[in-house]
Symmetry: C2
């Protein structure tokens, strides 16, 4: 999967199933991938380690890890001390905007990706948002991605000079099972990824938070065994 | 000017003439101002000190200083080691996109402002962009601000739930002289502000970079003496 020819692109890489599959799709499309990961006051750094393993394993051209401090603002279970919900029915997960919602997170991430892309001379940005499995997050919807792309082309020297940016969200209409099947076809080793909001100190996934439940259901529906270790597997 | 009643708003505050005047306008409109300043690898920290003085002097309800690392991407005289142009004719300054252009800077700043606003329960964001004096920057134009606002209302829980965000850019169509006159009417002490891209170690403005030249011309046209100290005053 090590492709270094072709056009440069920025790929947002968190180390989870979705962003890893997105990286595989971008590289399969002959893009030279420059991965961008954020350290943003997550309570666990296992995501950063996973992203680093994945970028190296895929042969990404560059991997930048940026520190940003979303904790200054508070307001989310992923950055503050609100309890992560456990053991919900999968059918309940996407109904409401979850407590793990981080205000404007994808907007902040895409803004940095835009700055990085313009500096690289890249015209393409890949983000692994998904509207089906995470319908609770407003910044995972196609209309949001379209609005960001429009804004990006007004915001930048490159956009103004007619070298338009495209925000690619290849997973946006896929189910988790379709995402996993796509990744498997592209040779993704999902044992490198991490998903859990609340893993054990040894790095085992809890199996009960919303993220684990959606991941496990996705692997089940895809008919594929999830290769990561769980404390509680279903 | 110490008003703490009214609706909360986030005001982007760099410590220069424009953002300081914008803060004065927001507070004069009875907003409770929460100022947001970025430390982003500027070569000089005098801007942060100026912003801190100004937020305190105005009685802002809060002042958050966020570290963001735009240096990882390179690409601008304000964050990298490109030489700042000096001694240009004012008429030449706004013709092209300047070398001091930072890719996607206002997009990154507004994205954080959006996250902060949503966390505060604020619906308003003030930014001191100006299309006339800085026409070279694509992210200072009204169409850019409108596109950001549209995107912001699709990006966020608050926007989706119908509590729309408004991005206020009260200076967007003003000349520098109009901005300064407005600030003087509102009681702004411009000796607190800083503008120079390349000040002396003692904090004197160079008087010859684009930012100084536009500032000096603005004060001249406003018929007001600029209270900051210069090495070279035109």
């Amino acid at each position: 999967m090590n492709k270094t020819e072709g056009k440069k692109t920025v790929v947002l890489l968190s180390g989870g199933v979705d962003s890893t599959t997105t990286l595989a799709i971008a590289m399969n499309d002959d893009f030279e991938a420059c991965a961008l990961t954020f350290r943003y006051g997550q309570r666990h750094t296992h995501e950063i380690e996973a992203a680093t393993r994945i970028a190296r394993s895929f042969g990404a051209a560059h991997h930048i890890i940026l520190d940003i401090d979303l904790r200054s603002f508070g307001g989310s279970a992923l950055t503050a001390d609100i309890e992560v919900p456990k053991g919900r029915a999968v059918s309940d997960i996407s109904r409401d905007i979850p407590v793990t919602y981080v205000p404007a997170r994808n907007t902040i991430f895409l803004s940095f990706a835009l700055a990085y892309a313009e500096t690289l001379g890249a015209r393409d940005i890949f983000i692994g948002v998904n509207a089906l499995d995470y319908s609770g997050y407003p910044d995972c919807r196609p209309e949001y991605i379209a609005a960001f792309e429009h804004m990006a082309n007004l915001a930048t020297k490159a956009g103004v000079e007619g070298r338009s940016f495209t925000i690619h969200a290849p997973l946006i209409a896929m189910t988790k099972a379709q995402i996993i099947r796509t990744g498997i076809l592209l040779g993704v080793d999902y044992s490198l990824t991490t998903t859990c909001y609340d893993p054990s100190p040894e790095g085992k996934s809890c199996g009960r938070c919303d993220a684990c439940l959606l991941r496990l259901q996705g692997f089940k529906e895809a008919g594929i065994d999830d290769p990561v270790a769980y404390i509680n597997k279903g």
